[in-house]
């Protein structure tokens, strides 16, 4: 599961839970209190208007939840509606009824605000709660008789009115943190797995490379180290040149280039170039990229010829959609003809006394 998915799922659950709580508080508990205290109200129409306003906010949230959409531009309006409804309800309350069951909206308004501000930062929601609380307190202080009983009712009522939505907001914040933490952990785990896979692939590749070199390069190096092979011997020098070119080709094989065959040939040519052999490399046509094993067969002829060339070599590639051939013409003294390892590669050698012409052709069957 991706980071965003985890977070979205947690948030959606919390959003639905908050909406259910809000509907229960506003439209069930609030309505019961409103209807029960209807006789006490001087302006029942104003109270029902406030009730309708809060219900409208909750209905909008329900639609948004179903359509999996967040609040956007409507958020400020919804908060204004909630605070406006609160003001309307408080101002039309009969005397001495603040924070009683007749004051049905006191416990309900914060939940309507909660559904709108659930995904906002914690301080935004706190600011809303405080605003509403101050609104109720101002109403009590300005328009009603301030006595001990009213203040006690207001204080005890505020514990649940203020506390419960606050608790919900805290839970939302904590859950958000947990979701982020879980996502980060998942990401780290994935990174670790990728790194491990890459490392094991690299190791496998190195083992493979070593195996490929061990048959030819290792005996040569051991021979040189033991003193069995003499570095001044031209045959040993030739073997060294071939192995060097082979290693260069091996390193070039893993490079990401547009035309691997030409890239590898260039590396082979560079070895000869360094020996002072004048190398011409020219390619014509376009061809599909042959697999590594085929490329090795194709470059082998060039590689041995280049490594053993005396003073010059011409390497050419001609390709088409269904065949590619690599030719090398060089002044090699003793051509060593490599045998192709893949069935679709044909190697031809033409020796005209001092000048050797090798052609390796690949025609995929």
């Amino acid at each position: 599961m991706s980071d965003d998915e985890t977070r979205a799922q947690l948030q959606r659950g919390l959003r639905i839970a908050t909406l259910i709580l809000a509907v229960l508080t506003v439209d069930v508990l609030g309505l019961i209190h409103l209807v029960q205290g209807l006789k006490s109200h001087d302006h029942p129409a104003a109270q029902f208007a406030a009730f309708a306003a809060l219900t409208a906010v909750l209905a909008t949230e329900a639609v948004l939840v179903v359509r999996r959409r967040p609040w956007r531009n409507g958020r400020r309006l919804a908060i204004a509606v909630v605070l406006g409804a609160s003001a309307l309800s408080y101002l039309t309350l009969p005397d001495g009824m603040t924070s009683t069951t007749v004051d049905w909206l006191f416990g309900a308004a914060n939940w309507a605000g909660a559904v709108v501000l659930l995904d906002r930062p914690f301080r935004t929601f706190l600011a809303f709660l405080v605003t509403h609380e101050l609104l109720a307190l101002a109403n009590l202080l300005v328009f009603h008789e301030v006595n001990r009983a009213a203040l006690v009712r207001f204080t005890t009522g505020s514990v649940t009115v203020f506390g419960l939505p606050l608790l919900m907001a805290v839970v939302a914040t904590v859950l958000g943190g947990i979701a982020a933490e879980a996502a980060r952990a998942a990401r780290e785990l994935e990174l670790a797995r990728t790194a491990e896979a890459a490392a094991s692939a690299a190791h496998r590749r190195r083992t493979q490379r070593f195996a490929e070199l061990s048959g030819t390069a290792v005996p040569l190096l051991t021979g040189l180290a033991d003193g069995v092979l003499e570095p001044s011997d031209p045959a040993v020098q030739r073997r060294c040149a071939i192995e060097a070119a082979r290693m260069r080709r091996l390193f070039a094989e893993t490079d990401l280039v547009g035309n691997p065959l030409l890239h590898e040939l260039r590396h082979c040519a560079e070895i000869a170039d360094r020996k002072g052999v004048e190398v011409e490399l020219d390619a014509r046509g376009q061809w599909p990229t042959p697999p590594v094993a085929v490329r090795r067969d194709l470059t082998n002829a060039a590689l041995t010829a280049l490594a053993t060339a005396g003073s010059w070599a011409r390497v050419t590639v001609v390709g088409s959609a269904d065949a590619v051939s690599v030719s090398v013409v060089a002044d090699c003294a003793e051509p060593a003809v490599p045998l192709p390892a893949t069935p679709d590669v044909r190697i031809e050698v033409f020796d005209s006394g001092g000048t050797v012409w090798m052609e390796a052709q690949w025609q995929p069957s």
């Binding site: 011409e280 020219d282 014509r284 046509g285 376009q286 011409r314 050419t316 001609v318 390709g319 088409s320 959609a321 051939s325 030719s327 013409v329 033409f350 005209s352 000048t355 012409w357 052609e359």
Partner: protein, 225 residues
């Protein structure tokens, strides 16, 4: 009969190239009289340059902008052109030939190809250097002329070895036959595409020399529009 001295004019913005070509021409036997027009095309059209037998033309006097238009004007006015270019791609090479250049050489090809190319052009014959040979062998455009397998084989071998003796020895033919195959390919290319006086000269000569017959010419050359 002493061969008449060939006069060539080179247009190239690189002084080193012009100097090198001059040296090759002087060392050639018999030497070729070379006029250096620098990077001014006017030098080809006026004065001594206008009388030169062969124009050695740098396709990219302005880097990145191959001047096919100027090549076309030169060919249309009957000049024998050897294109000497640093461009190595197939399309450019074939386009030059299609426009009527008698030879196309890349600047990696030295006096062993440039001198024979100038001599061939002076006689109205085409010269196919290995790089052009490779381009023709690898040509896969839909309106290319139909080549026989042997012709393609010779083109590829010439491109690969850069030595006609080696091609001849490898394919068990004579060096002259190698030349004939290459000439036939050039005639096939000359007979498709746009008409140019140098190209009709090439075809006439090939017919006269029996390199290709009229019947062969008709069957292997679908008309290009």
């Amino acid at each position: 009969m002493a061969a008449e001295l060939i006069r060539a004019v080179i247009v190239d913005d690189h002084a080193a190239i012009a100097a090198g070509v001059r040296y090759w021409c002087e060392q050639a036997d018999p030497p070729i009289d070379l006029l250096d027009a620098g990077d001014r095309l006017a030098g080809v059209w006026t004065g001594r340059g206008a009388d030169a037998d062969v124009v050695i033309f740098d396709l990219e006097l302005v880097p990145g902008k191959p001047d096919f238009g100027e090549l076309r004007r030169l060919v249309d006015s009957g000049r024998r052109v050897v294109v000497y270019s640093q461009h190595a791609d197939n399309a450019t090479a074939i386009k030059c030939i299609d426009l009527g250049a008698l030879a196309y050489l890349t600047k990696r090809e030295g006096p062993e190809h440039l001198v024979p190319a100038v001599r061939a052009a002076a006689e109205g014959r085409g010269y196919t250097a290995p790089s052009l040979s490779g381009a023709l062998a690898a040509d896969d455009t839909p309106d290319r002329p139909r080549l026989s397998p042997r012709e393609t084989e010779v083109l590829r071998a010439w491109f690969a070895s850069s030595s006609k003796e080696l091609v001849a020895a490898k394919l068990h033919i004579t060096a002259k036959t190698v030349d004939t195959y290459i000439a036939r390919v050039r005639v096939k290319y000359a007979s498709v595409g746009r008409a140019a006086s140098t190209k009709s000269e090439l075809i006439t000569r090939a017919l006269d020399d029996g390199v290709i017959t009229l019947a062969e010419l008709n069957e292997t050359a679908p008309l290009r529009r």
